[in-house]
Amino acid sequence: MNALSRRKFLKITGFTAGAAAAGTAALRATGVLQPPAPERGTRTVPTSCDICFWKCGAIAHVRDGELWKIEGNPLDPLSEGRLCPRGTGGIGAHFDPDRLRSPLMRKHLRGEEEWVEVTWDEAFDFIAKKMTAIKEQHGPEAVALFSHGIGGNFLKHMIKAYGSPNITAPSFAQCRGPRDVGFRLTFGEDVSSPERTDIRNARCLVLIGSHLGENMHNTQVQEFADAVGNGATVIVADPRFSIAASKAKYYLPVKPGTDIALLLAWMHVIVTEGLYDKEYVAAHGFGFEQFAASLAPFTPAWAYPETGIEPSVIEATAREMAAHKPSTLVHPGRHATWYGDDAQRSRAIALLNALLGSWGRKGGFYTPVSMDVPGYPYPEYPKSERGKVDNPGHKYPFAHETITTGIREATLTGQPYPVKGWWVYATNLIHALPNEAETIKAIQNLDLMVVVDVIPSEIAGWADVVLPESVYLERHDDLNVEWFREPFIALRQPVVPSPHEQKPNWWIAKSMAERLGLGAYFPWKDIEEYFQHRLTAAGLSYERLKKDGIIRGVKQPVYFAEGVTPTFPTPSGKIEFMSPQLQQAGFDPVPVYHRPPPAPPGSYRLLFGRSPVHSFSRTQSNRILSDMMPENEVWVNTDIARRHGLTHGQYVRLKNQDGVVSNRVRVKVTERIRPECVYIVHGFGHTARGLHHAAGKGASDAQLITRYATDPLMGGTAMNMNFVTFEPAEA
């Protein structure tokens, strides 16, 4: 909002002196909260954040019985006592007047958002009847669960006990899947989450489209600031001059979709000039000669017209990377589903890291460690005869997690077998999956659609039954046994009671299982008994965990130089520069560049990303977070804006190649983006009727993503494939 004065902006976005206070008093006046407990003074409760899925350790403060604020837990290795803005504003989730209050059943048609409030018993009885009928008619595999985050662990357990292997999250096929497949094909292991990136110790950090600082995974941003503060060389390739780009020594304004060309040219320079880590490659590499030979044509001069990056810059940045090896980290990114060849791009990133010798090295990739906490001894799950439904015939041979869009496809077609029930937990599939029309069509084929959520999200609007979950500040979740650069476990525990009929997920799963005759799978009385059992088995104290929120283990070696044995669980046992696995499956054994199709004349490629104050489409009704960013903007290059007569701050609508028109969105006229693309932050443009505060604010990228390309290696859905034009909008 550079060109608008700050206070003026507040005025035009409709805030007035009469706006409700973010604090509790105003909410109580509107009847949202129950009367306060007769509690006086201030107390603190250690817990862990759930505004995103990083799970930072936090300490919540309760003043006179009311939630006041939440701070980082200094014992927590992830946050080191400092939460991100979403975590700091997380208390807004508890106070959100739009949150779900009681179980709901639909009155008429799906998607009409007309509800009857029911009791938990009525909701469970309805669901149990439907699930029993589906099992009898179609088998247990016909019920699928979409679940994101640790909160869903007990629901997953319930669905497995019921007999279905069809459990999935958009975090694979819509997000980090291609990255993990690319790295697994090369090093034999995933990058995983939290990423095993040693950003803090990097001497040279290369970001390809990764917008750290806007993408606010706390540990990574803290370490990014450390790296920048310590004078590390930052190289950023991005069509948009991101926050990270503003910290870079080299900003490479790469054309959208040409990253593989840039990566090949970088590797060409490093190999032909002999700048790679020869000892490391000789000791750990497989198929290097064939890989090196394949790079011959991909000179910086070849890459220039593809990428728009001058050869001298490609050469200088390649040499800079090599100068700092092995403490050069070419960041693998996180949201990697862009252009359909994403696993191959991720493999190129992995190979560049391999040339620099950064895997297993300080300032590159550490080897994550964890504490040994045995699982709860449950009965064995029933074995599925038919296997998973999402990837028939292993069409996507390198998908090592379940593909959400594969389950959607099976639900649409009934092949390889019908899917008749969906449970959806904490993932707003309407915003998370590409082409919402396909999602809605699939839902029409269901006999049962259950959504567990904290807010009346768009996907909740399509449910038969909506189950209101307590927000993270009001509930226990499963124990977090984290894999990180030092071992620790963390607890999420209630700070304040739920204000209405909301219940924790473990209770929902246990109650549901008991209704289904699966009570043997939930033998514990409550989750605290479950914690006691697991911690006792691990020789740890639940009392201590309750008091501190975190128990840290003994530090262990995390680099090869500290004694970690280099192991690469690929078929060759080495880093696969040339991949026989890919060759045997009929794919390019070394990454190959394919030029992306150009934008249709007069239209612009739609790119999307993150804001530091929002998580996906989950937080726009949180009043503290929405106050900092109430709506998104469409970034338009200054020259393009002039050509279309657009002015900064005006509203437009975006129309995509299939005629889909977005909600109105403000124009951000900026020099900070290439002319052939526009950019919006994901998660806005809500349409759900119950999201009174968030509905109608900004544009939804998801709505405009009607086209997507599927990664042939692993089924990821590439979403940077849509083009928009500008349509007038009322002011």
């Binding site: 604090g23 503060g229 001059f241 106050d627």
Partner: protein
């Protein structure tokens, strides 16, 4: 006498607004208002750009025009650290201070008084950093006493280049931006 000031490292700052969120919860700032905010100042033409990101707030000026212009004696300099504060009960909400402030740092609270950053004096007097400083995930903010040459803020300002905002206003602002 202490002289409180902030040094904010624009090299480390990513403009994430955690300082804004922390101020809102710590101080119960009403929805629609903020006592601190982020400015992203970019210059140049694509792709040759420079951007400075700043966490901004009341500058707790040494020569604060908001105090001199106050007809009610509400705007005042606190006895400790030169912090500029407002007595809510004395303030008539006349907005003279808002007009006088070169930093657009003040607003009229829905309860009718002029409001703004207090440097979290309630925390500082309890030996803590202001909420915005304590929360910052990039560790870009430093708070302390300029009169003490050994304080973190004094040492960092002695060792780094910095600038203050709107120096031409002559108000002697006490927020310094490190480059």
């Amino acid at each position: 006498m202490a002289r409180y000031a902030m040094a904010i490292d624009t090299v480390r700052c990513v403009g994430c607004m955690d300082c804004v969120a922390a101020c809102k919860t710590e101080n119960g700032v009403p929805e629609g208002y903020d006592r601190d905010w982020i400015t992203y100042e970019s210059t140049g033409q694509f792709p040759t750009l420079h951007m400075e990101i700043r966490s901004e707030r009341c500058n707790h000026c040494d020569d604060p025009p908001c105090v001199g212009c106050c007809p009610c004696g509400a705007s005042h300099i606190h006895e400790r650290g030169g912090v500029v504060l407002v007595h809510h009960d004395k303030c008539s909400g006349c907005k003279a201070c808002i007009a006088a402030c070169p930093y657009d740092a003040r607003f009229i609270h829905p309860d009718g008084y002029a409001d703004k950053c207090t440097f979290c004096i309630h925390r500082v007097e309890a030996g803590k950093d202001p909420a915005c400083v304590a929360v910052c995930p990039t560790h870009c903010m430093h708070f302390g006493d300029l009169e003490d040459p050994h304080s973190e803020v004094s040492r960092i300002l002695a060792s780094r280049n910095s600038h203050a905002l709107v120096p031409a206003a002559g108000t002697k602002p006490q927020i310094f931006y490190l480059r």
